[in-house]
Point group: C2
Chain length 391, copies 2
Amino acid sequence: MLRHIIASATVSRQQIASDTGLSLATVSNLVGELLELGLLVEVGYQDSGGGRPRGLVAINPNGGVLVGIDVAETYVHVELFDPALTVLASVEEELHPEENRPDQVVAHVVSSVESALATAGVGHDRVLGAGISVPGQVDREGGVSVFAPNWDWHDVPLRSLLARSLDMPLYLDNPLRACVVAELWFGAGRGRDDVVVVNLGTGVGAGLAFGGALYRGATNSAGEWGHTTLVVDGRLCHCGSRGCVETYVGAPGIMQNLRDLAPNSPFLHTDDQTATIEALARGVADGDPVAAKVVTETARYLGVAVADLINLVNPEVVVLSSWVAGLLGDALLAEVRAVVGRHALRRPLAATEITLCRIAGNPVSLGAATFALERFLSAIGTNAGGLVRQT
Amino acid sequence: MLRHIIASATVSRQQIASDTGLSLATVSNLVGELLELGLLVEVGYQDSGGGRPRGLVAINPNGGVLVGIDVAETYVHVELFDPALTVLASVEEELHPEENRPDQVVAHVVSSVESALATAGVGHDRVLGAGISVPGQVDREGGVSVFAPNWDWHDVPLRSLLARSLDMPLYLDNPLRACVVAELWFGAGRGRDDVVVVNLGTGVGAGLAFGGALYRGATNSAGEWGHTTLVVDGRLCHCGSRGCVETYVGAPGIMQNLRDLAPNSPFLHTDDQTATIEALARGVADGDPVAAKVVTETARYLGVAVADLINLVNPEVVVLSSWVAGLLGDALLAEVRAVVGRHALRRPLAATEITLCRIAGNPVSLGAATFALERFLSAIGTNAGGLVRQT
């Protein structure tokens, strides 16, 4: 219902009931609770054509704020949102390769959050909750980063470490799940049942939604598509296996594709994947043949791996997301579609749209803040908890 | 509820209500309808310790029959079931390689069904429905085999062809989905949410269940794991792609593994995959080193491909099923587990059991008959339709 109100801007209880299929009594109760919580406000009346005028409600832009934190291998990105998940402030700090110890990452998160709050002029007391996405496998109940392969983190109690400085409810999850939730609420997944979000960053993975809801698997680690095998006995992966998808299409994998084609390329910034991918994107724009070849080679692997997802999952949409897709997605998309066309089965292929993420801003921060909103609603222990499908 | 009654043999309405969480009124209504339909019978009373004795009900063994038809590339297997899905009769006819035209396959199906009905002394009028599983992609609403890659069938209207001879409701689906339903109702999937059934036959695929229910994908073609890529630019697959899982672990793929290791092996029966796999199974039992090597080589590919499923789907259980698993499963299992251990991520691996199908009889026929039971209940248009989760 909240998703619906966010999408509608202002809406009457009667309209919500008719659009969601809930009874008017249920809608009225839920709206009443959300008004009390300050998440909604009354914003006037609508003529109902003869009957009593209908009260209109909208998300309360002053109803507290949500924090969405995207911790990636190369940066920390924090966004502040109102309850309609409109961005109020945005801060990004770079993470240098030598800054991957938990205390260093925690320090960057804390300073980014403080600086976002200061920018928006909002105190800790107005924060309803903060969602934090960290790469790798997480124990969200315990607030622990179980395994972050690119940093070799094992069982880092991230929530406890952050709680020393951040006085707000903290919810931990990973970018695969944050991106899917963002697409389901605000992106290409809206109104769709079976959705795959392919995250292309330093690590890669596939966020999954089935029947319109986030799919977590038995232990919240579903979607590790980056560690499915594309080439038996292929490139060594830091996970210990060989030939993983990630070693060909993650940012370091793309650097390797470049190195294989042109070991002395000026695009290559050793130890700086961001600079390398940015240089490649500029090269493609400038019509450089080596950059174009790297894209083709990367698309050859990515297309096969996306075709695997289409054959196995039979989704309605595959969204290419995260920062590598942001930089190289336009160049990759047509070639990926062509490779998928040669490798996917006809029937599931015909049912699938392959698209770039079109969410403005950072979808991981947005998804993380959405988790915080969902958890806030369920944590207050009222009927409002039933408003959102728990993901 | 029906699943519960089947599992309990005889049970009171009160016990059903307490075990399923349904209200006694709801259970009494549903039981009443099933008694009227003849699917259940009253079988006596249970002392309730002072109160009124409680009526006991059970599945009616004379309440009509269900037909489960497993059409595979090399055989047609038909089983007849009572409504508790106990086998009443079983018939198998071989399909020779040159018998893969639709009219030939249809003739084998019809004669197998007739012969099963004759064996059990049951007329067409007592058949509640027949479930038919055919390999490849199916349009179950239209009753059409959309694409059967091993036979190169395209858009074969199988239900119409069968309806000319078989006067009973016919439901079409494929072995991936039949096997999952069989495991959910009667096998390793009972009481579990996230289940993968790896089907190893001529073709291979993965039946998927999420949240305790069969997952079909957007167009009922989810689970085409056999056509995910294990080796980019690897063996040519009849689907048009290269390096598909199926080309390494399907029966013809295993024959190729054998041919690569020992081109003149006496185990090799050209053009007879069944005889070859049977010979290999005997070879393993006899301690033959070539047979053992073929198992190791096959397990090397199968283990990697199962690890892919574990990393992507994070299931509670992976079941190895179908006829190749029936013949070689015991030999493969330990080696597959070892390979999976080297390729799967620690966290999802720890949550997954890898096991052989333990369903007595043919799980595809059982699952197909279960589809027919589900469709019968929903087709009669009463509350009883709500008894089973529609899959």
